[in-house]
Symmetry: C2
Amino acid sequence: MTLQIQFGKRVREIRNSHGLSQEALAYKAGIDRTYMTDIENGKRNVSIQNIEKIINALELPIEDFFKSPIFLNH
Amino acid sequence: MTLQIQFGKRVREIRNSHGLSQEALAYKAGIDRTYMTDIENGKRNVSIQNIEKIINALELPIEDFFKSPIFLNH
């Protein structure tokens, strides 16, 4: 599984664990809602500037974001 | 410090610890050498597909890549 797909899965997992809607997370991150949908579905080659916005909006250290079985092959 | 700048610093740190030249890492990752220079200098809004290539070429788990004091404000 590519990192792009894993990233989307992890965003969705954390967003759901925070009880946030996709729309609420997109708004908080300053990212278009439809773009956020594509990111979660692994359909966008997301840039590091947008990665930063999303991880900040999820309010967890980046180290914890990437500490997940989702990323085990990387 | 932005994640873009931190990412470049961390790539450089690990590359040096492996005794790899910038050219060797660029070749291994399949990325243009001048583009790799810009990435290490925090000058490129690098995409997740290129992040994947670079971290794979550095041969460490992505979790370990982001486990560093460099990323402490994220």
